[in-house]
Symmetry: C2
Subunit: 476 residues, 2 copies
Amino acid sequence: MTDAALSLAQALDRIRAVVGPAGIITDDADMAPYLAEWRGRFKGKSPAVVRPANTQEVADVVRICAAAQIPIVPQGGNTGLVGGSIPYEEGREIVLSLSRMNKIRHIDPLDYSMTVDAGVVLKTAQEAAEAADRLLPMSLGAEGTCHIGGLISTNAGGMAVLRYGVMRDLVLGLEVVLPDGRIWNGLRSLRKNNTGYDLKHLFIGAEGTLGIVTGAVVKLFPRPRQVETAFVAVPSPGAAIELLARLRAASGDAVTAFELMSDVCVAFALKHVAGSVNPLSEPSPWYVLTELSAGTHSDSFRESFEEALAAAFEEELATDAAIMSSQAQAQQMWFLREAIVEAQKFEGGSIKNDVSVAVSKVAEFIDRAVAAVEGACPGIRPTIFGHVGDGNIHFNLSQPEGTDTAAYLARWDEICDVVNEVILDMDGSISAEHGVGRFKKDEMPKIKSAVEFDLLQRIKAVFDPEGLLNPGKMLP
Amino acid sequence: MTDAALSLAQALDRIRAVVGPAGIITDDADMAPYLAEWRGRFKGKSPAVVRPANTQEVADVVRICAAAQIPIVPQGGNTGLVGGSIPYEEGREIVLSLSRMNKIRHIDPLDYSMTVDAGVVLKTAQEAAEAADRLLPMSLGAEGTCHIGGLISTNAGGMAVLRYGVMRDLVLGLEVVLPDGRIWNGLRSLRKNNTGYDLKHLFIGAEGTLGIVTGAVVKLFPRPRQVETAFVAVPSPGAAIELLARLRAASGDAVTAFELMSDVCVAFALKHVAGSVNPLSEPSPWYVLTELSAGTHSDSFRESFEEALAAAFEEELATDAAIMSSQAQAQQMWFLREAIVEAQKFEGGSIKNDVSVAVSKVAEFIDRAVAAVEGACPGIRPTIFGHVGDGNIHFNLSQPEGTDTAAYLARWDEICDVVNEVILDMDGSISAEHGVGRFKKDEMPKIKSAVEFDLLQRIKAVFDPEGLLNPGKMLP
C-alpha cells in the first residue's frame, strides 16, 4: 500500500479531490484554532486540516495518508487538556477533524440508544435525547463544544460517573477507520454479544492512536423526575467517604453526584468569583455537594434523604447541611462548585494533578499527598476538590503566598512526581479522566509495569505498525 | 524459552514439583469430571489436570508448559455450555483448574468492591458480599458451582443484566497469567483510570485464549430493600418491549428483571414440572415476569408499579397481571420461569439458539425467525423465552410432534443457520451470553466481517503467538 513516490503536495491534491474544497484548510490563519489547545499549553504545525464529511471520506483520506506516510492527528472538539489532539511542532502531521460529521443518525427510544456521527457536539446529543424523553447522562464543563467521538477516544468522565459510569460504560457500538483505511463496522446496539474479543474497548480511551472513531451507538436512560441537591459540611475526607457509602445504601444507589471540596477551594471561590455564595453559615474544613436523583416524584424520596443526613449528624459524619429549597438554590450550589475551577488562577501558579485511588483510600491519599507536597514545598496551598464518589481527586496545588510564580511553576514536574509517588504506592492512577496525550506520555514507562508497557506497545504495533496514527501521543 | 527437549513426562514432573501432589491429577477416574461438559455434549482427554494453589504456581506451570509446548485449557467451575473449558479428544492439552484458588482476598464495603481469587464460587462471593451488607448482583442458574474467573472469561450474563450489566461491567481490576508465564497485575480498584489501552477488557470474554485470569476486583452495590415481582399477560413481544420502556421510565430505571415467555413455554412447564403454577387464570399468547427493586422501602414504590401496570392495561400493552402478594408467590413466579428450561426436554429434541438483537428489534426478530424456521421445518414448535430486557432471546425449537428425534436433531446446523441468517441481517449476535468455545468457533469467519476477523486473529497472535492457550476455542 505504501507509495513512497507520493509527495506531500500530491497527497494533498488527492485528499482535496476526496473531501472537496470545503473539506480542507491550508491557510495558516484558518488552521490556527485547530493547532492549539484552548488553554495554550500545546501548539503545533500542520500542512493541512482535513474535514471529511462522512465515514467513507475519512477512510479514503487515511488510505492516501498511509500511502504517502503522512501521520494523522484525529481531532474532535479540541477541548482536551493533555495535548492529545494537537500536532507536533515539526509540521509533518495533518489534522483530521471530525467536525463536519455532525449528524445524529438515529434515536431509538424503545432501545434506549442513539446512533451518532463522531463529530456530534455533546450538548446537541443531550438535547436530542431529551426531546425523545431520554437522558444521555454524560455531562462535563466542555459539553457545548466537545464531540462524542472525542469523549469516546478519551474515555471522558465528568459529573455523572458515580451513577452512570464513564464514557466507556455508555458505548454500545463503534464505527472506526483503521490506520490502513479499512472501516471496522462495530455499530451495533447489543447489550449482550459474546463472540470474540471486545474490540470497541480497545478504541475507547485510545486517544486516536489505534483508529479514528467515526460513529457510535450510545446508551440512553430514563430521565430523572426528581433531583435533590444538598451542600454538606463534613469534618474530614474520611467522613465524606463514609457518608457517601451510607447515602448510596440508604437511597438505593440514587446518589448521582458527590463532590468534595476543601475549605481553601471554597474560600478562593467566594473571594474571586462574583455570585459565589456559601449556603452554610458556619465554616467547615471540608464540604460535599451531593445530588440524589429519582425516576419518580415522591415526598418520601426527599424525606429519606433528610433522614440519612440526620443520621449522619448523629454519627458525626456531617456537621451541617443545606438541602435545596428551590431549583435556584441548587444552581447556586453548583455555581460554587464550578467557581472553584476558575478561582484558582487568581491565587498565582497552580500545579494540577488529576488522580484517582480506590474510593475507600481517598482520605489516606489526601493525608499522605498533602504531607508529601508540604515537605517538598513549605507554604504550598493544596486546593483539593473532585469527583470523590469515583475516587477521582483534582489535587491542585497553589503556590505559597508571596512567592514567585515562574519559579514555582518551574517545579511542576518535581512536585507532580511527589504526588505521583504516593499515587503509585497506593495503586492509583496519575491520570484519572484527562488522559495521557502529549502531556504525560513520558510518564508511561514509569507508571506501568514492564509487562503492561510491553502489551501496550504490542497492541499499538498490531493496529498501527507504521505509527501513523497520532504518533507521540499516549505512548512515548 | 522453548525447550524442545523437554518431554511431556519431564514437564509433568516439573509441574508436580511446583504444585505438589495435591495439585495434580493423572488418574483417569479422578480426571473424568474435568474432561466432560456437564450436559455431555463435549468430552476430551488430557495427560493431567493441574490445580495450582496460587497465582505464582499458575505462572510457573504456564512457563513449564510454554517450554515444553504443552497446550493448556484453563477451567473454572466447568458449567459452560459451549465446550470452552473442555480439552480436545487428542489428549495433548493439560487442564489447568482454578478450583484450589478459592480465597476471598479482601472485601471493602466503603469502596463497594471485593477482591477474589478466580476460583471463588459465585454463591460464596454473593454470600460474603451480603455479610458485608453489599450486593454482588451477578446471578445465574449455575451460581452454586461456577467460578468468578469463569464468569469473567465468558463475560457471563444472567438474570440481573438489565440493571447491573454483564460481568464485564462488574470488573474493576484483573490479575492475569499470560501465555508466556508472566503475571499482569491489573488488580486495582479504580473507577477512573485513563492511562493507556484498557487491557482488562481484552481478557474479559476471551474464553481463556489470551491469558488465565487468576484474580479480580469486582464491583459491589447497595442491597435492594424492596423487591416487587409481577407476572404480566401481554398480547405480543412488541407490547412487552413497549411495556419495558415505560416501566423503566416510570420507575426511574428500577426494573431489575424482565423475562419474556411464550404460551408454549408456560404450557410445557405446567405440563411437565411439578409445582409449576400459572398465577393468571386467563390464557395469553405471551407473558412477562418482571421485577422492580428499590433501595428503600416505601408504599409508594409498589403503588407506582401498580399505576404503571394500570396505564399499560389502558393502552392495551398488557391484559392481566398478578403482583406478588407474598415472597412465596414471587418465588412461585420465578419457579415457573426456571421450570421452562427443564420442561423442554420432555417434548423431544430441542435445537437451541442463544441470540440477541437491539431491544427494540426483539418483536421483529421473533416474527421473522419464527416464519423462517416454520418454512424450513413445518410443525416446528418455537419455545421462546429469555432476558429480553437485554435483547437476549433463548430461541429454542422443539421438534414437530410425532416426528423422529434423531432425524430432527440431525438438522441442528441447518436450522441454526436459518435463525442466524435472520440474526445477522438484523445486526444481532448469534451468541449473546453463552460464548463461542468449541461449539460455534467455525461460525466465526462467517459471522464476522473480514476486517474484524483479521483483528481478532492478530490480537490472539500478539498475546499467544505459539497458540498454547485454549487452542481451537473461540477462533477456528
